[in-house]
């Protein structure tokens, strides 16, 4: 039913696809964290106009599937004159989707810091900038860590739809090999194993960080 030699011969092909998926996935994740941080600051400081734009962006991307976003970016935008390669499209799509999730996560992290912390900082003579950098940010970050890890895992799973814009990722490779040689079982086993390699470590690291960062919750 299962042929080890087929698995061995498929291994390098899957390894290559795995590398591509991981690289594009993580660049997208870094981008999403950057977008999320900027947008969360905009919402937290209630910057006029920008806050409305950010809120629209967050609602728009949280309420649509990545597949539809990628189709729009990859097949739709070229008709309007914006052309991106599949790789760039994957990064941008994942970054925009993830950015909207990260914004919500980081904003609610910032808002968990109680008012008393700010008042105490002011009474100790902290400036506004010091208050934000030394008091609010560290606490907000440690509160948001579990939710950010959950978002990262979600985004890594979402990379599976990259194959729809003909990026040669793990799904694309599996589907291609199944179509070519009909070794369905072997291809699917490798697909599952490589996804486990991609996501399980993040899940473990996430649990470990969560346990450690619990010690850093002050107040209350």
């Amino acid at each position: 039913m299962m042929d080890a030699s087929i698995i061995r011969s498929y291994l390098p092909i899957f390894a290559q696809a795995f590398t591509l998926t991981v690289i594009i996935g993580w660049i997208g994740i870094v981008l999403s964290i950057l977008i999320g941080m900027l947008s969360a600051f905009v919402l937290y400081f209630k910057l006029p106009v920008l806050a409305t734009v950010v809120r629209c962006y967050v609602e728009l991307f949280r309420n649509t599937p990545l597949l539809v976003q990628l189709f729009f970016l990859y097949y739709g935008l070229p008709s309007a004159g914006v052309r991106m390669s599949a790789q760039v499209c994957g990064v941008v799509g994942l970054g925009l989707l993830g950015g909207s999730y990260m914004t919500e996560t980081l904003r609610s992290g910032l808002e968990t810091v109680p008012l008393s912390q700010k008042e105490s900082a002011y009474s100790l003579g902290f400036s506004k900038a010091q208050l934000f950098v030394d008091i609010i940010l560290p606490q907000a970050v440690s509160v948001s860590v579990p939710a950010v890890t959950a978002n990262i895992i979600f985004l890594l799973k979402e990379t599976s739809v990259f194959s729809a814009i003909s990026l040669m990722d793990l799904m694309f490779t599996a589907k291609d090999l199944i179509g070519l040689y009909y070794n369905t079982t072997e291809s699917l086993i490798l697909l599952v194993l490589f996804y486990i390699c991609m996501i399980l470590p993040v899940s473990f690291v996430g649990n470990w960080i969560e346990k450690r960062s619990r010690r850093n919750i002050y107040g209350d």
């Binding site: 539809v68 097949y75 599976s160 799904m171 589907k175 599952v192």
Partner: protein, 222 residues
């Protein structure tokens, strides 16, 4: 920009019917997930039982494997390995219900576990029997936590069912592609308009539901 293509003939209606296919699959899967999740979640709330272990394994599988991978395993793998020739629709409903059940069960379980023991003890001391305790004290509180979160599961389900085009179901994205192909010569730039409209259609389907979930969550806070 390609919007005019959708006004031609029955194109817009076809697109909406494509969305209907996706929504039908998500509603079916949501109903199955909620019913199965309620039962599994209640069983899993008994700590250190077999149910809890089975539930944990189920949840871990769903948390680690992308839904598309599960879809491929069921649609392509089962037919080869087990000889099950599932239709794409059946495979989709099976996978999304498998995923949704685990998520729903987790919501039910954590809502049940979050009710403090003092609530059970107080009802006991007020002379409620177990049935009354559940009906009048526990379930109303669990319901308040559960309803917004399960409504949120509906939007996630709607978004996830867009994946079914990857196993060949003709839904809204596929219909969009067909419309673009059919009008290739008259309007070569139709892709922008068609995919923008699909984007907005999904938004229109999910946004009200996620607003409702947020509204109920705020209303029933504390």
């Amino acid at each position: 920009m390609g919007f005019e293509v959708l006004l031609k003939g029955k194109n817009m209606i076809r697109l909406l019917m494509g969305l209907g296919v996706a929504l039908k699959l998500s509603i079916l899967s949501v109903v199955i997930s909620i019913l199965a999740g309620l039962v599994t979640g209640m069983l899993a709330s008994f700590k250190k039982s077999v149910f809890y272990i089975v539930f944990r394994v189920h949840l871990e599988i769903v948390r680690i494997m992308p839904q598309l991978v599960l879809l491929f395993i069921v649609y392509f793998g089962f037919s080869k390995a087990a000889g099950w020739n599932l239709t794409a629709e059946a495979a989709a409903i099976l996978v999304f219900s498998f995923w949704g059940t685990a998520e729903m069960a987790d919501l039910v379980r954590s809502a049940l576990v979050s009710i403090p023991a003092s609530q059970y003890e107080s009802s006991r001391s007020l002379g409620f029997n177990s049935l009354q305790t559940y009906l009048y004290v526990i379930l109303p509180q669990v319901g308040r936590r559960l309803v917004p979160l399960s409504i949120n599961l509906i939007t996630r389900m709607i978004k996830t069912t867009s994946l079914v085009m990857m196993i060949g179901i003709v839904e809204v994205l596929k219909t969009g592609q067909q419309i673009i192909e059919a009008n290739r010569y008259q309007s070569p730039n139709a892709a922008f308009g068609v995919f923008a409209v699909i984007f907005l259609l999904y938004f229109a389907a999910c946004y009200p539901v996620s607003r409702l979930s947020k509204y109920l969550e705020k209303k029933w806070e504390n």
